[in-house]
């Protein structure tokens, strides 16, 4: 799965979890730019990504993910 494909798949997921239907996920999206991206919804987002992509993060990976770029790094390393 390429970076573009991953971003495309993340967009509806982010829109749902962060309750913003106009949200477009890019590789530079930062929590500060998304009002609904709090520490609470962050955990939901991780759980949903696991669900939608059918993967399981390690705790270390979870800790490493702060921004979309971090998430992409982990997802790309999985060679989905």
């Amino acid at each position: 799965m390429s970076e573009t494909e991953i971003l495309l798949k993340l967009t509806p997921l982010f829109q749902r979890v962060f309750a913003d239907s106009s949200l477009v996920v890019t590789n530079s999206l930062h929590p500060d730019q998304v009002p609904g991206w709090s520490s609470l919804s962050h955990a939901h987002m991780l759980a949903e990504v696991e669900n939608v992509f059918g993967i399981r993060f390690t705790f270390r990976e979870m800790r490493s993910i702060q921004t979309t770029q971090d998430l992409l790094t982990v997802l790309l390393s999985r060679q989905l």
Binding site: L40, A43, L46, A47, N51, T58, F59, R63
Partner: protein, 538 residues
Amino acid sequence: MRLALLGDFTIEDFKPYFLETTLFMRSFSQVEEVILNPDSELYKFKPDVIVVMFSTQVLRARYHQRSTSHVVFYEEVLRYHQNLREQLEQHSQSRIVISNFVEVSDRLFGNHDHLIETSFLQLTKDLNNALRSNLDINSLAAFYGHENWFDARFWYLSKSFCHPRLIPKVTERIQSICRSSLGAQVKCVVLDLDETIWGGILGDDGRDIILGAEGEGEIYRDFQAYLLELKRRGILLAVASKNDLSNVLDIFRHHPEMILRESDISVFKVNWENKADSIAQIARELNIGLDSMIFIDDSPLERSLVRSLLPEVRAVEFSGDPALYITELTSTDYFESSLLTSVDERRGELQQIESERTKLRTSFMSLEDFLRDLQMRGEITPFKADDLERIVQLTQRTNQFNLRTQRYNLAQTKKILQDETYLPLSVTLSDRLGHHGLVSVLIFSIRGDIAFVDQWLLSCRVFSRGLENFIMNEAMKILKEIKISKVVGEYLPTEKNKNVANLFKDFGFHPVGALWEIAITDYQDKPHFINQGPYERD
């Protein structure tokens, strides 16, 4: 509703599920701080309900790090929790809800954990027994499975009470407790009959309904037994069914496999009216609020009607598999109660007496609005070869709306299709909830300019929706086009088709001997809310 949520984990995770509620939240060690200080913001907040939740993760970490014996640890924890509860009761007028611990084995003794008095599993069990908490998180965690519940990664990441996906299940529990303290406690369950408390259609199957100790019948028997338990617990049972009362009472009185008996039912509303009216009448007769009623019906259409006309009544959403009725009903938490009292246990009986005293009529509600909102589409066409099997099935099985109860087999039906002296019509119906398929068969035999209604039947699934009016209107148009001047009908009574005894009369036909007649020019179109057209999927 003012709700205080306190927990020794990140209880702020619950916030998105309480958008309608005024919240006060404290996590971790702030919990004891606000509870123990009589002047704290918690008590100033004056909550209606205070929910205090303790995680097994925190308990377990403390337990494993204890410097005392198991017994001393247990005594200390018990005293700590008892003290918190006493302080809460002393300093507030609020309803206090405290969670129990999830009873989980840490498997230090493998399969023997449950036998060892000093295991962590035993500690959680002993605490739960001693504390008698009123928010049963232990059962909830067991229901979804400890493997899902305790996702350690989320605990270490953000001190989540459980896996984020299960948090809504916890908040639903809390919400149902809040609702029950607002007085919207369930007092009555209104039951449909056919395909709900027994299988099959009473009007068609009679005593051969599906109910018993074996096969599918066991499902319905167990469901009835569950409903009887609800009655024992003080919840009234009522019936709202589209059936003939005499048939229904015969089953309740004489069917050997019935668990529910006539005396278990506080009110019977068995008629062909819309069920919202029946439920409103039941509420009046029992003198209870609509918001204290639950409606159980296998038909998505009936549920949708009741939700539209009586939004306060909770219609249980079923997936459509009778084997799951109990599972789906218990997962609703509709039967949350503040406390069970002996009055509860007697309530069923007392209200049944009251109901017998006051048989009240209720105001009419707009069925029209509901039917209009359904966006029904009907189509009447000559028989299609593909439909013959369904048509044969309908003529074999339909008993209630069936004027002459002519049973045609496949060969006879094929013959009718080819015979030019017959006009065989079939009708399909769809609405915004889905497609009902072929639901009616209408066969005219034609002699010159006279059409005789050889066969007219309508599936009981689509009664009371004005479909017969649509069909008659459309049929009359077709007959006019082929220059028919008179329509003749016949009603052959059976045990099961009393419903349609007056059908021709209602359509303006005149009795002529044993038959009914109408000049086609005298026919007045009947009102309905069905548009002409085939089924279209969005």
